[in-house]
Amino acid sequence: MSGAIDRLRAWSVELEGSTRPVALIRIGVASLILVRYADEVAMFRTVSPIGVALCVLFFVATLAMLVGLRTRAAVAATSLVLVTMYFVFGPTPGVHGWNHHHSYVLMVSTLLLNLMPCGTSYSVDRVLALRRAERQGLLPPAERGSLWAQRLFALQLMAIYFWTAVDKSDWAFVSGQRLEQTMVWVYSNRPLDWLLTAPWFTVPASTAVLAVEYFLAVGLLVRRLQPFAIPMGVMLHLTFYVLLPVTTYSASMVLLYLAALDPDAVHRFIDRLQGHHGATADPHRL
């Protein structure tokens, strides 16, 4: 029993390791925020002084978060912007999608990044830290840190898959009717109308989606199941991305899979990708 609790602690609150995965999540989330909102908050859209302030803060904070310049402050400022957009502007008439689930995923991801050293790798902050170390004749700062909050991303994924599967666990969904309704809306009078609204597509597709979502709720968190869960999850979200207007949702979810992996394994994989092997490995070189 105590062994299981120790393993759980090591997996969650005591997790330490490479900061590369959270840095990649930071870069990915910042990119998705820009993709999702930049066009809607850009200066040419503004009609009020509040809009101008939102535009300036949005671009300064998100771009600084993207490149990792004063990362902590940048992530905090981006969080403030996204929380305001979600809770204040999201429910106002004429603003569409700012309080949808894909916006929530971006907001929560940014909020969680405040709890992690996501500027220690792949950032302007790291370049500056390396220069400082070089000037002082010190070793390069390690790309390691306390990642106690990283698994909260994984739990967020688990919650999304589980509760969305609960919502689909009824006859209306399993029988393909709800998917057919969605496809009627999206595909009526489009070339694949006949295929995507047919029961022989909607019934197996609905059942498969439900089964995969329940499996992902557990499979992404269990290391032995990850080799099956991750490709299945990627395929599921690719299918959503191609068939339905999901905006940044699919890409955000797949990006957050990084948080369920062993951070040191991700670090070693990147080393191998860049040609650093065994004795030649130099994880601190830029």
Partner: protein
Amino acid sequence: MGRARIARRLAFCAIAAFVLLAPMFPHVFNIHGKLLRPWMMYSDVGVGLLKGDFRIVEAGSTRNVAPLELMGLERYPRLRHYRFEQRVLRDGDLGRIAATYCATMPAGARLSFDGAVGTRGGWRPLKADDLCGSAHVGRD
């Protein structure tokens, strides 16, 4: 154990509990709030859409018209919120949707609908006779 460590553990447990259990309120207890987000992707998309055909009987001839054609739409609008006026959510909506089309029909022509309407519980049968006159709408 240091204070920082205790604070981290408490914070982790609190956030994890919120992330995992907060959706239970809207999903299980039907309690909604700004912080209690349900995970219901695409759950309302298609609610209020019609499946079936409108039938027009005039001067001894009969022809069918698809719902989109009757609404004068080529496709359903590409909206982020998936809400638009021509959905059938309550009694009277079908007649309201048909009203514009009725104005173009010759006197004496009858417009009826036989099909189903999309709901959260799936397709529900929907029939209506003489939509341009005193419509009788029947739902099962």
